[in-house]
């Protein structure tokens, strides 16, 4: 009997050499005349251990990592195929604290299975949600999603059930389901991990959404920077069609749903939902005025559900186990789990899915292990390039939408970027304005012009020119951006800029906080 070995096909694992390690293992096994079955799985999300090789043994799956090509002959010599010790041994993978302490609902399968193997997906609880949905009235599907308390995981945290209900109650011959897979926020990679590591769960979630609101066509708008996710999605969609999980007669129900992946082209603004729909229509990604809401007049002017990858990928488990099951995780108005992404200067970067309610400090130190450089953590940016910078004094904030709003910060898409004490916060504030200038769609003046004036003013402050005059000017400009911009790009760029200024005034050449005001 051949031994089964897993080597991840996740692009972060590949970026650290997983493809070469997989090839080396296959080569070494053949050279030694040992029969193995090599499976490329998704990543467990323990990225400091990648490439993480797992061997199936009688006791469970034994991990070895990080494995480099030069380790491979030694692993065979040490009988890793029987799970024997080696200096790369991690023991039973499911027993690692980092994994054991998590509550993986959306990420339940990721890292365990071959992402594009449909049979394995079905064996591991896949398509149970769809099976339930097929026997339900559309109103009841929407009710489960509403009851679950799921809020949009893309960043805006709008209740998903309410959005679906609006589309359901807007009659039209054609409606659309659009998946926002334009994951452009720095420090985030959970969408990518889902699409590469469990693409069927997204396909299933979109199909359920289609049944719920009466939409027959879905589009996944994927950023072009994710070639591996593109390949995995296309393979999975093809297999779903072959097995009648997509197409004109889903599982002999007479229901229809078609799905197609469309690629973006490197514009951050196309992660904004109205800009995304313009782009899908083949236009420049200019932001639209709202109202009308996309739920009433969205893609091609039709009622459209537009949701983030994680929101849609959370739907199958809600329909499988019921809205109440999902709702029982979390706190306050933040229900369910949030896949948090620990990134940047952190010792143990990775994917941590947990119910809302943990503190930022627990994530940074208990899971993250502090900074990678070993220096003190000085600032963290939560929620991508439009999220606030938080100082150490705010690390006890709970991971909860309202708790973050209470300190003028956002959870966004759950990305946390860590900086040690070598960071220059004035430079980071300048970068935020520069990024806004580069990525502005140009439709509204505060964002288009304000961002450029913004980094010019910060340049002046950094160079010590008229600081007492320029600080109020910067604040005034931020006020215009906050209140006068059409969308979140201009409207939220002041979050990182002002939080940097308020919490780290010394980096702007201001000695005390009173003068910064």
């Amino acid at each position: 009997m051949s031994t089964t070995i897993y080597v991840p096909c996740d692009s972060s694992a590949i970026s650290l050499g997983a493809d070469r390690v997989a090839a080396a293992i296959a080569y070494e096994a053949e050279k030694r005349g040992i029969a193995i079955q090599l499976i490329r799985n998704g990543s467990r999300g323990l990225f400091w251990l990648e490439p993480l090789v797992e061997v199936v043994t009688g006791k469970g799956r034994v991990g070895y990592g990080p494995v480099q090509v030069s380790d491979v002959p030694g692993l065979f010599d040490a009988a890793f195929l029987q799970g024997e010790p080696h200096h790369r041994s991690l023991g039973l993978i499911e027993e690692l604290d980092y994994l054991k302490k998590q509550q993986r609902l959306t990420f339940a399968r990721i890292g365990k299975t071959d992402p594009v193997n449909l049979d394995e997906y079905v064996i591991n609880d896949g398509y149970r949600g769809l099976t339930n949905a097929l026997s339900m009235a559309p109103q009841d599907i929407v009710k489960h999603v509403t009851d679950s308390g799921l809020r949009g995981r893309g960043g805006a945290a709008f209740p998903t059930g309410i959005k679906w209900n609006t589309v359901l109650n807007t009659p039209d011959e054609q409606k659309y389901i659009v998946c926002n897979a334009d994951e452009g926020d720095s420090g985030t990679f959970s969408d990518r991990m889902v699409m590469e590591g469990d693409p069927f769960v997204l396909i299933e979630g979109m199909t359920i959404a289609g049944l719920a609101v009466g939409a027959t066509q879905g589009y996944i708008y994927l950023r072009v920077e994710y070639p591996h996710a593109h390949a995995a999605l296309n393979t999975a969609i093809e297999k779903a069609y072959q097995a009648d999980y997509l197409g004109n007669n889903i599982q002999s129900s007479g229901k229809k749903f078609d799905l197609e992946v469309r690629l973006g082209a490197g514009a951050y603004i196309c992660g904004e939902e109205t800009s995304l729909m313009e782009s899908l229509e083949g236009k420049r990604g200019l932001v639209r005025f709202k109202p009308p809401l996309p739920a009433i007049s969205g893609l091609f002017g039709k009622p459209t559900v537009i949701n983030n990858v994680i929101s849609l990928a959370s739907v199958p488990i809600i329909l499988d186990k019921g809205g109440d099951y999902y709702r029982n995780f979390g706190m306050g108005r933040s229900r369910g789990t949030l896949p948090v992404q620990l990134a940047g200067n952190i010792k143990y970067p990775g994917l941590v899915e947990l119910a809302f309610g943990l503190t930022l400090r627990e994530l940074l130190y208990d899971f993250g292990g502090g900074s990678a450089t070993g220096r003190p953590i000085r600032a963290v940016q939560v929620g991508g390039p439009l999220g606030a910078y938080l100082p150490e004094s705010q690390f006890d904030t709970l991971v909860d939408y309202e708790a973050f709003a209470g300190i003028w910060a956002v959870l966004g898409h759950g990305g946390i970027v860590v900086f040690d004490d070598t960071v220059d916060m004035a430079e980071m504030a300048r970068y935020s304005m520069e990024f806004c200038a580069i990525e502005s769609c140009g439709k509204c003046t505060p964002c288009r012009i304000g961002s450029t004036r913004g980094y010019e003013v910060i340049d002046d402050i950094i160079n010590g020119r008229d600081v007492n005059k320029n600080i109020p000017l910067l604040r005034d400009l931020c006020d215009t951006l906050l209140n006068g911009s059409l969308c979140a790009l201009g409207g939220m760029t002041p979050y990182p800029v002002l939080s940097a200024l308020n919490h780290f005034p010394e980096d702007f050449g201001i000695s005390d906080k009173a003068n910064a005001a």
Binding site: S11, S12, I14, S15, L16, G45, F47, E50, E183, G184, D185, S186, G187, T188, F189, D191, R192, V224, E225, Y226, P227, H228, R262, L263, G264, A265, G266, A267, Y268, S279, L280, E281, G282, K283, R284, G285, F300, Q341, L342, A343, G344, N345, P349, G350, L351, A372, Q381, P385, G415, V417, V418, F419, D420, V423, M428, Y431, F435, I438, E439, C441
Partner: protein
């Protein structure tokens, strides 16, 4: 540069195959850039005509998106991440190293036509910062040495 005749027949094949999709312009532009490496200015009238758009509209879309280019790229395009996570792990120093090593700035191509350098704002590899992409190959925890090795390997292959 592509021969004008080959270029036009490629553009026409792609346009004919995709023009009836809803919102066909981006898929067509991706198709052309995948096939030719860039979107030649001479292809714009053909694309515009097939989609019943003005040339200005097609040009406007090409120029809006950072990924589309209307000049031929080098043999290998390097996308270097400039975003916050990579900055927290030294991407600014890496950026200086890369620019010095290749003796070009962003949006430029080396005189020998081997490498083009483009900035990118996140590759989703933030757990392994700093990150870069060369062609479809993604690299994590990129140090100046790792960059030099990758470039030297590609130089030898070429």
């Amino acid at each position: 540069m592509t021969e004008p005749g080959i270029m036009l027949s490629t553009v026409q094949d792609i346009t004919t195959a995709l023009k009836d999709k809803p919102g066909a312009l981006l898929p067509i532009l991706h198709g052309v850039q995948d096939a030719l490496g860039y979107i030649p200015v001479d292809s714009i009238p053909h694309i515009a005509k097939a989609l019943n758009l003005s040339r200005a509209e097609v040009h406007g879309v090409i120029s809006f998106y950072h990924y589309f280019r209307d000049t031929p790229p080098g043999k290998h395009t390097i996308h270097l991440c400039r975003a916050e996570s990579c900055q927290s792990r030294g991407s600014k120093q890496l950026e200086n190293h890369v620019k010095n090593k290749l003796a070009i700035d962003f949006h430029e191509t080396t005189p020998d036509g081997k490498f083009s350098l483009e900035p990118v704002y996140c590759l989703g590899n933030c757990a392994c910062s700093p990150a870069m992409q060369i062609g479809n190959e993604i690299y994590g925890r990129v140090s100046p040495d790792l960059f030099d090795n990758a470039i030297n390997e590609l130089r030898e292959l070429a």
